[in-house]
């Protein structure tokens, strides 16, 4: 009985430890900018901008915090007075704040904006990023909001697997390369994925793939590492993808909607900051490729750096600030 008590106490200790994070990082820190370093022009500070105040918003997860900081710090570098509201919760809250003028601008994903704000069905979203962006621009015009040119990267769904598993499966490159093998594979996704047409249902239909089992869990990389699942739905800018331990399969049948970032700005704000301010905002998004965004996310999620510092470093490494 005494040993049982010890066991119980030990269990209690483990429970306490579980509350702490256990993310691990197995990589060195590569420079962001991914070779595109020093591509930007140094942002010129204009003292006249000091009288113009801009409130920058963002949603409440890592990538959004970083992006919000990048845009905010770029405006600061140009001399504007910037206020940050970088924890606005879901897109519905952020968009409401934008339309209501509580914030002047925030970064949003094109696919998300179309489906959440304009009720476009996920399978109706244009598959070409530019087309999706054009449609969004047209929709936003009614709200007096301008969507600035989208980033090169998109944060969309893909199927990912470990390098080891990929080798076992004959190094597939595309999702359709899983044809004939998928019946033996366990696929992981977040719980809702199983019943969504832009997730598992879509993959089953568009690619004609049947999987052995769907395993619902948010801990996708842990589940892949342990071999509980063979394939998983990943987001293209997930931090662990920067570790190069995983292979991401191409969406060769164009199932998933584009999710590029566009910085949405109120038209009146755009007038206040003028063409110079607009150019700064458009320029700072240009070096943001998938590899760069993965790296920035990994500095926060895996290296535990602050989004503010990561954004500052990004602007420096890309040559926007000195």
């Amino acid at each position: 009985m005494r040993s049982m008590l010890v066991a119980l106490t030990a269990a209690a200790m483990m429970i306490a430890m579980a509350a702490c994070g256990d993310e691990k990082k197995e990589k060195g820190t590569a420079p962001a900018g991914g070779g595109a370093g020093a591509s930007g022009q140094v942002i010129q500070k204009n003292a006249a901008n000091a009288k113009t105040a801009v409130t920058v918003g963002s949603k409440n997860f890592t990538e959004q915090f970083i992006l919000g900081e990048i845009y905010a710090q770029a405006l600061e570098a140009a001399g504007f007075k910037v206020k940050k509201e970088l924890n606005l919760g879901s897109e519905l809250i952020a968009f409401k704040a934008l339309r209501g003028g509580q914030i002047d601008a925030y970064p949003e994903y094109t696919g998300t904006a179309l489906t959440s704000f304009f009720k476009v069905k996920t399978d109706q979203v244009p598959k070409q990023p530019q087309q999706a962006f054009d449609q969004l621009t047209a929709d936003l015009a009614k709200d007096d909001i301008t969507a600035l040119a989208p980033t090169p990267f998109e944060n969309t769904y893909r199927l990912g697997l470990t390098k080891k598993k990929a080798a076992e499966l004959g190094n597939p490159k595309n999702i359709s390369d899983l044809t004939g093998k998928s019946q033996q594979l366990v696929i992981n996704g977040f719980p809702e994925c199983k019943q969504r047409t832009d997730c598992l249902l879509g993959v089953q239909k568009t690619y004609g793939l049947k999987f052995k089992k769907f395993l619902a869990s948010e801990s996708k990389f842990e589940v892949l590492d342990q071999g509980q699942a063979d394939v998983a739905f990943v987001f293209t800018t997930d931090a662990p993808l920067a570790t190069k331990k995983y292979v991401v399969l191409e969406d060769d049948k164009k199932l998933f909607p584009p999710y590029n970032i566009t910085f949405m700005v109120r038209n009146e704000t755009l007038q206040k900051i003028g063409p110079q301010g607009r150019k700064v905002l458009e320029d700072v998004g240009k070096p943001l490729t998938v590899a760069v965004m993965q790296e920035l996310n990994s500095r926060v999620d895996l290296d535990k750096q602050e989004p503010e510092k990561v954004a500052t470093d990004y602007l420096k490494e890309s040559g926007f600030t000195k």
Binding site: M1, M4, L5, L8, T9, A11, A12, M14, I15, A16, M17, A18, A19, D22, K121, T122, D123, P191, E192, Q195, R196, T197, D198, L201, K205, F214, L215, A216, S217, E218, S219, E222, V223, Q226, Q228
Partner: protein, 254 residues
């Protein structure tokens, strides 16, 4: 009655979701109605298993600790630690050891269910009147008999109080099981883009009903298992209990 009009229509939409199948919000599948039967069955099975296992662990342990009257700190503080740790964190923690699936959620729910039962069993056993225990010893009962025939029956109402608390906790918390690949009534609550507001509210209503039913059912059971002596004793505690537990010497006196 000042009820926002939208609330009424949302609520009737939720009831409609419980009764009839419909196309999911994101399209492609039918949800609601009879689909909920399977989810409810898993929900109940999972919860029942968790509470049963927790009882099997916590009741004997609590009785023993209460009987020897030691480790009070342990019996009470385990309860507090158990409440402090988010169940969600436990699921993520156990993925490394138990994987994703039924076992993971079951263990997590058992850990959630143990503390109230353990604490109540301990406290219930400790609160048994010392006179009654002494008398039981006096008539030559072995320690095991004291536990079984005196302490357990007298502590039973308190123990059941713990089980009721645990059952309600577990039924409500089993809604997070879908995060570890077990589809319960939490699935419509978590998958908002598939089930929509009606699904969320509908499933929440079902969980609430299950919880109330379990509480009422266990309450009835609690009254049924409470020993007669305790029930009457509730009115006149001292005299009655003394008369029951201490053998009279009437034979000698006359």
């Amino acid at each position: 009655m000042i009820v926002p009009a939208s609330f009424g229509s949302q609520f009737s939409d939720a009831i409609d979701f419980i009764l009839h199948k419909r196309e999911s919000v994101s399209g492609g599948i039918q949800v609601g109605g009879s689909e909920l039967l399977g989810l409810t069955a898993t929900h109940l099975y999972l919860s029942l298993a968790a509470v049963a296992i927790a009882c099997a662990i916590a009741v004997p342990l609590g009785l023993w600790l209460g009987h020897i009257g030691r480790f009070e700190f342990l019996a009470i503080s385990i309860s507090n630690i158990g409440r402090a740790v988010p169940t969600l964190a436990l699921i993520a923690f156990f993925i490394a050891y138990l994987g994703v699936g039924f076992t993971n959620v079951l263990v997590v729910l058992v850990l959630l269910a143990i503390p109230p039962i353990l604490t109540n069993t301990y406290v219930g056993t400790r609160q048994v009147e010392r006179d009654a225990v002494d008398a039981a010893r006096g008539v030559g009962m072995t320690p095991a008999q004291v536990v079984r025939k005196v302490e357990l029956p007298l502590a039973l109402p308190t123990i059941f109080g713990g089980i009721r608390t645990s059952a309600v906790n577990v039924l409500a918390t089993a809604t997070i099981a879908p995060l570890a690949s077990v589809d319960t009534l939490g699935t419509p609550i978590i998958s908002a883009n598939v089930y929509g507001d009606a699904g969320r509210l509908g499933a929440a209503v079902l969980v609430a009903l299950l919880t109330l039913a379990a509480d009422a059912g266990l309450g009835a059971l609690q009254r049924a298992v409470t020993s007669k002596g305790l029930k009457t004793g509730a009115r006149e505690p001292r005299r009655r209990r003394l008369r029951i537990s201490i053998p009279t010497r009437r034979g000698h006196a006359t």
